[in-house]
Symmetry: C2
Subunit: 187 residues, 2 copies
């Protein structure tokens, strides 16, 4: 049955939303097209009316979720703390798409890689701009170094099978970033 133009747009949005959660949670390969459609309250048949292929869905999902992901623009200290929290580690489905998906981008189409590159570029810029206390000359280094450490720490913490060591990776990385930032502060 046909649905209203508006309803269709909402369906598409819901597909992208649930796809972004499922992909972050289980990875691109482990999520089937039918699973995404079911999670969006539809059946698999309508899929190709919205996207030309699963790869196309992946690329659009990345653009969608990276555009929505605007973290790091405000209070950087709070952002880093939340990023390196056990809560974020344990919430891959709703967490940072970079931490959840960046490593898998290597095996995706060039459209997906391009979307991810754009997302990373603006994320690095946002973090740099949120470092007013840091000398301009150091900003880019601090932004990139900190973000790399954050992403790496969350990936490692999620991989580790020992809660104590996993927590320690998060905490020590937070402390390492903290000292790194304050030591290059202009004040």
């Amino acid at each position: 049955m046909k649905v209203s133009r508006e309803q269709m747009a909402e369906n598409r949005r819901r597909i992208l939303d649930v796809a972004s959660r499922l992909f972050r949670d289980k990875g691109f390969d482990a999520v089937s097209v039918a699973e995404v459609m079911n999670a969006a309250g539809l059946t698999h048949g309508g899929f190709y009316g919205h996207f030309s292929s699963k790869d196309d869905l992946i690329a659009h999902t990345l653009a969608h979720v990276l555009a929505a992901d605007e973290g790091g623009g405000g209070d950087l200290r709070a952002y880093v703390d939340a990023y390196l929290s056990p809560r974020h580690r344990d919430n891959a489905a709703g967490g940072c798409p970079t931490a959840g998906l960046a490593a898998a981008i290597r095996h995706q189409t060039s459209a997906a890689r391009s979307a991810m590159t754009g997302g990373l570029r603006s994320q690095i810029d946002r973090i740099g701009k949120a470092l007013p206390e840091v000398d301009a000359a150091d900003r880019r280094r601090v932004a990139i170094g900190s973000f790399a450490a954050m992403v790496g720490a969350v990936i490692l913490a999620r991989a580790i099978d020992d809660p104590a060591l996993s927590d320690e990776v998060l905490e020590q990385t937070r402390s390492w970033i903290d000292t790194g930032i304050s030591q290059v502060s202009a004040s």
Copy 2:
């Protein structure tokens, strides 16, 4: 045809070697059992004489490659430089298994997660011991923070579709680690 006891052991070693390269290069899901066996110069049939399942192969491969990966024990500065080089970024198949596989471990069996955890623990220890110039109180923080940044930077650099930005992520992270380490040095 049956082969000698010794030949079989060598076959098993070769299976693990090629599997570790293929998995690092293409990811666990994108590599089939038959592909591994062919790369090892065998056919798919003999596989289940060596391993009970693909998951079993993954777990053994991780233990194999993480035991072999002894980087970071010697000159730390050289290790960091090599790790954050374009050469390492472009050589996932032969590169650090943590950078290549850690993010995918979340979706693997507990045996695989356990193998990875052990590998990470010893890697962090090795880096800590390679930091003689750093105060003992700071060693763990520096080791974990640096390693997280290294892993994160390589993952990001591999995800980015723009050579200039990818190179910059590597270089800025190297510089960030450099200043971070020297500023907590005891000397």
